[in-house]
Subunit: 228 residues, 2 copies
């Protein structure tokens, strides 16, 4: 079997895939990229083959796969015959795991990144208008609702992880979203969610997550740019 | 088999699921909801069981599934033994279809909805600052890049649909995103993409799509609010 290559951009969704590869004990090699001015460097696009230059990307033999949710499903489908990461479709946990895999992007990051984009893209006239803080406050409403929802769902679960008592695709996709939003304070400043914090610490203390961090150098510090 | 119920909110991602149910010839009943002030009415949340009140939702026996990408995968997994909608994992088309299923939300709508949110959430001071048009123009850069990418990928494909020559989950997820963004002119005003237009017309002229529209009343007019 050709080894899998993970094109890993610092401070990005790439950590999801490294964690999953460790969980599934799939051999892989990592190509690491620092950001330049918070963005993927041009070499990321040319070397990974991703048409949009977005991370992560994997190569597995002839297959190039991008979009982290697609990569999680691809790897689970090919290399997880026991359905640990995505339950079999007759398992009552199956719809839950699928839903989190999609909500990690389609709810949580959709709402939080609207704050990032408004911040990056606002010209000085908007930032100095006296209404910019109100815009950010309004945008945070959706984010707080999403975290309240996540908090409540974690509260209903008797297990340590998002769906049940073992790491699934739900954790792999959603933990990055939650940690990223909390670290960047995208609408969450001054608020805490105890179930979310406890669950994130549990995820991040697994040996597989720690091994992924060691192997890739993942960190959210410094915007992903190379320290000076 | 208990019939599937589709909780269908007007002018929403719900049309994706109606189209898929028609493609797979799965019997279903529809519960239809008009929007109120552009939002899902409170009855949508209470009746569908979706904790966030977001559409679409399906019930299939004991399973409640939400997030349209999750619903597509759930239905394909359970009711598409021939793998028409999502190719089998040894089919070279499999990664492509997965990637579009995720990119429909994680790229296209992520970028376009940042324009919707900035518009909805900006207080008068921002809208009257003299910089608001520039903010929208800056936000449109990502949208145009996404459509250029979609246009290019469609240009490489010799078939009528996004991946190959038949409707797949790639079309079901992505066509709604593209049509929604073009209709609402979220960063696309004044621009056209000929491959995208041709492909959307092909999708929307399939008998299954037309049957889904007839059955559900889907339309993007009037913001999904009941005509006066």
């Amino acid at each position: 079997m050709a080894p899998i290559t993970l094109y890993f951009l610092q401070a990005s969704r790439s950590i999801r895939i490294a964690w999953l590869l460790e969980e599934l004990k799939i051999p892989y090699e990592t190509k690491f990229y620092w950001r330049e001015n918070n963005k993927a460097p041009p070499t990321f696009k040319t070397e990974s083959g991703s048409p949009l230059g977005k991370a992560p990307v994997i190569r597995d033999g002839d297959n190039i796969v991008y979009e982290s949710g697609a990569i999680v499903e691809y790897l689970a489908s090919k290399y997880d015959p026991d359905h640990r990461i995505i339950p079999a479709n007759d398992d009552p946990k199956y719809p839950d795991v699928l839903q989190w895999i999609h909500a990690a992007e389609g709810q949580i990051l959709l709402h939080a990144l609207s704050i990032t984009y408004a911040t990056w893209m606002s010209p000085p006239a908007v930032k100095e208008s006296g209404g910019f803080d109100k815009l950010l406050e309004n945008l945070s409403i959706n984010v707080v609702r999403d975290f309240d929802w996540l908090e409540g769902e974690l509260g209903k679960n008797s297990g340590d992880f998002l769906v049940g008592n073992t790491v699934t695709g739900a954790d792999i996709m959603t933990a990055f979203s939650a940690r990223f939003v909390l670290t960047r304070e995208l609408g969450t400043k001054g608020k805490t969610w105890s179930n979310v914090n406890k669950w994130l610490k549990k995820c991040e203390s697994t040996k597989t997550y720690q091994d992924a961090v060691k192997k890739t150098g993942h960190s959210l510090d410094n915007g992903g740019n190379k320290p000076q």
